[in-house]
Assembly symmetry: C2
Homo-oligomer: 200 residues x 2
């Protein structure tokens, strides 16, 4: 059979079960409030096995954090740096792709921000934010269009309109279904509004 890669073990390996559980618990409760016992239970295995696979809570956390940072920046960077895209195209693509990502990972922003805040030293270098805000293709295009306003203001507004609803979700929205609908609507709205801001 052509599609037989490695069907030797179960559909999801134990390691994967643990990682999936860690992903869920860590992103939901944060590092400090997470107990390794929670992760083991969520994974459907016992604490001893968890510590057999990953030697410590910290190691498991780093794994998840690295993954989440790549998710978070993985969507932005290719767009922000793409010289082929016009400013308007960037705005449209960013809103669309970012909201799609956040609909699938609603906990992502609050998790990453909270943990970086709790332990900033460990991230200072790993973040490519400085580049996005100062040297990216996006920044240059913004400067060209509006030399009178610091580009960071525009970018923060764009990110704010996009990310904030997911961060404030626990406070602002109770109906999960409605929330998803609104966020779908929001893709076009944000692109439109971002353009309006540049013209104002």
């Amino acid at each position: 059979m052509a599609k037989s890669k490695e069907l030797k073990k179960k559909d999801t390996s134990t390691e994967e079960k643990i990682i999936a559980a860690a992903r869920k618990v860590f992103t939901q409760k944060g590092y400090a409030a997470t107990r390794t016992r929670d992760i083991a239970e969520e994974a459907g295995i016992n604490l001893a096995l968890l510590n057999y696979y990953f030697r410590s809570k910290e190691k498991l956390f780093q794994l998840i954090m690295t993954e989440k940072l790549q998710q978070l920046f993985g969507v932005i960077l290719p767009i922000v740096n793409n010289d082929k895209l016009t400013l308007d195209e960037k705005l449209e693509t960013l809103a669309e792709n970012y909201i799609n990502l956040l609909i699938d990972n609603p906990d992502l922003p609050l998790f990453v921000i909270s943990e970086i805040r709790a332990n900033p030293e460990g991230f200072k270098d790993r973040l490519q934010v400085h580049h996005i805000l100062r040297n990216s293709s996006l920044v240059h295009q913004i400067r060209e269009k509006r030399a009178d306003v610091e580009p960071v203001h525009f970018i923060v507004s764009l990110l704010g309109m996009t990310i904030f609803p997911f961060i404030a979700k626990p406070i602002l929205f109770s109906d999960d279904q409605l929330f998803k609908l609104l966020m779908e609507e929001r893709k076009i709205l944000i692109a439109k509004w971002a353009k309006a801001i540049f013209e104002s």
Copy 2:
């Protein structure tokens, strides 16, 4: 003497010192990551005395949380509900007052959101959000102006542009002095941009 209220004790009472320390540590690290020993140390007293004044970590936390919720909504409600203010006046006042509040309390939004997320049950009722989003004077004015778009979209954008920079501060901004300057600038920008969004 006319201005002698109660000069019997020190300039700041022990109780106040503890509360101030709790305010600082809780809002910086969150409930789960805060140790009562940290608070005691920050207050310059010992753990025994802290537990003598406030019988538990939880009690002290509730005190701070109540205070922070009042801060957070105390600025919004009087504006959002004020029928005397036009929509544009509301936008201007909100941006101005909210950013002033956040400059003095940069940790406020991330703290409140994180803790509500960690324990939503305890807040479901205490939040007047539902009213702000559905029945406030602001909502009515928005609906009048733009019947084609769900008002919550506008409000979320306004809040996003205002609050998000303070939430993302640990990631986006390293220079504290520069950050303050940018936020000052932002007051007028947000009001202007919010208006532009309504017209677009």
